[in-house]
Symmetry: C2
Subunit: 195 residues, 2 copies
Amino acid sequence: MTTGKPLRADARRNRDALLAKARELFADGCFDMRFDDFARLAGVGTGTLYRHFPTREALAEAVYRSELDAMCARGRELRDTLPAAKALAAFLRDLVDHLEAHQGLARTLATLMAAQSGPLAEGGRELSQVIAGLLAAGVEEGSIRDDVGVGAVMMALQGICTACGRPGSRADADGTVTLVLDGLRSPAPPLSGGG
Amino acid sequence: MTTGKPLRADARRNRDALLAKARELFADGCFDMRFDDFARLAGVGTGTLYRHFPTREALAEAVYRSELDAMCARGRELRDTLPAAKALAAFLRDLVDHLEAHQGLARTLATLMAAQSGPLAEGGRELSQVIAGLLAAGVEEGSIRDDVGVGAVMMALQGICTACGRPGSRADADGTVTLVLDGLRSPAPPLSGGG
DNA sequence: ACAAGATATGGAGACAGTTTCCGTTTGTCA
DNA sequence: TGACAAACGGAAACTGTCTCCATATCTTGT
């Protein structure tokens, strides 16, 4: 999907121009601009914009694709080089750092995780798998409980991504990660017993 | 705000008709219908709809207002009748039950929590205060850590609300609540130490 | 270098949904 | 019952999205 298409020279040029302008705007905090206007700003026609990126989510995904990939790679690296519990903690802390520094990434991730199917969901799934790997390593190591799945962690993560950027969100996000990490430790605690 | 307006008879009738139809549609899972069409379905003009509910969020908020109030009342009751830790657990478990049973409530709550200011944010703040009360009781009781604020719990809750309705979301939501509750217990654990 | 064919462009305009506006209707009060 | 205020309704203006296709640009073979 990513490879296998020899894009024509002008097409590639336009695509790059769109991505470059999108990066610039996202960095400035402009996420909700008119799609038409964005095309004009990037110096291409609306048709061209739509051909390259059918939706604004597709655009955001493309902009943050490399960062997301790097994130996932880092997760796998951590899993292979640290004790599992440490690796998971480091990964989630780093993730929150990145999210707080890059609003656009947080938004994009929130969108990706919300997507249930379609090409968009792919990106979310990748992150989910990395976290699943970290959890599995922890379970094997004996440091992480095995009765709570990745989905639970992803839900908390989705909350973090959604709330990211609000005043005070940094402290709250750290708190949520702390709760998740500590919650993943205990094996059979009294508080959670519901009925 | 809620009181203090002697609404004219026909106005009240229309308002009620709008709310009734909205409840009916929400119950059927129709959340994203055209606002115009909705007015027609309720038997009023578009202008009337907009006068009563300027946005679809305002409508959703009005529809679920009573349920939200009941929820908050229940939270306060639990705080006053159970040991704090139990009260918090019961409250969150109940909340998830309700959210899973009523997609519309989950959506509305997600919206309310996302709203940073304006009349919409009011509803979110109310829930937040109830949870803060439960946490405070637990801290006083000594069963809940005091280094993590309400915001952290609200973030996780927002994730739950956002993801609600997806296949398998029930199990994941339960897992997230478990993580939060267990995470709130431990006082100074090794896993969360970041740097 | 050039022709032929394939590929991509751009922006006008159709479309869909939202929101306003104001002439008309309905309710209230004395 | 009349006078006034409040509310109605839906046509029309507006906003943003997306498609379509005549035109322009690239690529490849000779």
